[in-house]
């Protein structure tokens, strides 16, 4: 099977950079394009982009992906199109975190909250993905961050099936992170984010940024208070950045 090729526009998108930046990288010989035999057009191989993306901060790359109007598949290394693949990569995360100094017990907690956030995306969107199925999942041990995102229905649409009175994204996020809702749900799910909040609030190492719709929140180390605010740019799904 031949390797996937990307046009300049597609390459810029999956790397989370502008076309101008892509061109500058090419001139600086940091990215090497190839020419298509049939029309001599310039394009990039997936392996070339994967190699370069190792230097990039996934928290920046994901912004372009989640805010894109039409949607596109991320590079394979940061894309879990189905839940079993996510589980496999989650176990890789746990192995890598176990090698990081000063994390010890926190590595299991960090993996657990990443697992809850990622699995939430699959559980709440199964059969209902608006465009790109699955999640963006990448971690950067040097920058000590983990990024999870989906282009699913978002917290408000999901929770409204259980709590129709929710009026906006801010209220939906507050409910998701504070209320036990399984008792009212037709299915026993929906408490994962409260677990996430509890773990982060009781840790001296972990912090979380979470955004859905036009609402965003951050939970700091050893801080139980939720800071939920309205963001300037909205998107439909969910974005989480765990720092440790």
């Amino acid at each position: 099977m031949s390797e996937k090729k990307y046009t300049s526009g597609q390459a810029a998108k999956v790397l989370g950079i502008s076309k101008d930046t892509l061109r500058r990288l090419e001139i600086a010989r940091k990215l090497k394009p190839i020419r298509l035999k049939k029309n001599n057009y310039r394009c990039y191989s997936e392996s070339e982009l994967e190699n370069y993306s190792e230097n990039l901060n996934p928290a920046r790359v994901v912004k372009k992906w989640i805010e894109d109007q039409e949607g596109y598949e991320p590079l394979s290394s940061s894309y879990c199109s189905f839940s079993s693949l996510f589980l496999l990569r989650l176990s890789r995360l746990e192995q890598v975190l176990a090698q990081v100094n000063n994390l010890t017990g926190d590595s299991s907690l960090i993996t657990a909250i990443a697992g809850e956030i990622g699995n939430n995306s699959f559980d709440h969107n199964l059969g209902n993905w608006p465009d790109i199925p699955g999640i963006f999942f990448a971690f950067d041990i040097k920058r000590r961050n983990i990024v999870l995102a989906d282009r699913g229905r978002g917290v408000l649409a999901t929770l409204r099936t259980i709590k129709p009175t929710l009026k906006d994204d801010k209220e939906a996020l507050h409910t998701a992170f504070t209320e036990i809702i399984s008792g009212r749900s037709p299915e026993s799910r929906g408490n994962g984010l409260k677990f996430v909040r509890d773990v982060v609030a009781n840790s001296k190492l972990i912090s979380l940024f979470f955004k859905s719709g036009n609402a965003e929140l951050s939970i700091g180390k050893f801080k139980k208070d939720l800071k939920i605010s309205e963001s300037k740019r909205a998107f439909r799904g969910c974005l989480a950045v765990i720092k440790f």
Binding site: L87, S91, G105, S108, I180, R189, F195
Partner: protein, 96 residues
């Protein structure tokens, strides 16, 4: 009866996998004697989260109550999961 959870994997996080583990394990409870204690052994489990726990552990805890004992539960994610499950379901957990 002792249930070694590591037989279901060492990273126990997804609701779907918890459901499958429960469905696979349930038939073996038919051999349980009256008043027999069930020990759930967390030895070897490196990550547990409430989604998996709610599918596998919660039905057992609700059904067998004080006949259920949890052992080797020191892992921080196991402890954090217990805390969440207790808050949701208002039950007590017996740890060895």
């Amino acid at each position: 009866m002792v249930i070694a959870l590591k037989k279901f994997g060492t990273i126990l996080t997804s609701r779907q996998m918890g459901k499958e583990a429960s469905a696979a394990f349930r038939p073996s409870l038919s051999n349980l004697k009256k008043d027999e204690i069930i020990e759930i052994d967390f030895e070897g489990v490196s990550v547990l989260s409430p989604s998996w726990g709610d599918e596998f552990l919660t039905p057992l805890i609700l059904e067998y109550k004080d006949r259920l004992i949890l052992k080797n539960t020191k892992n921080p994610s196991v402890q954090a999961t217990f805390k969440t499950l207790k808050e949701i379901h208002r039950f007590e957990l017996l740890e060895k």
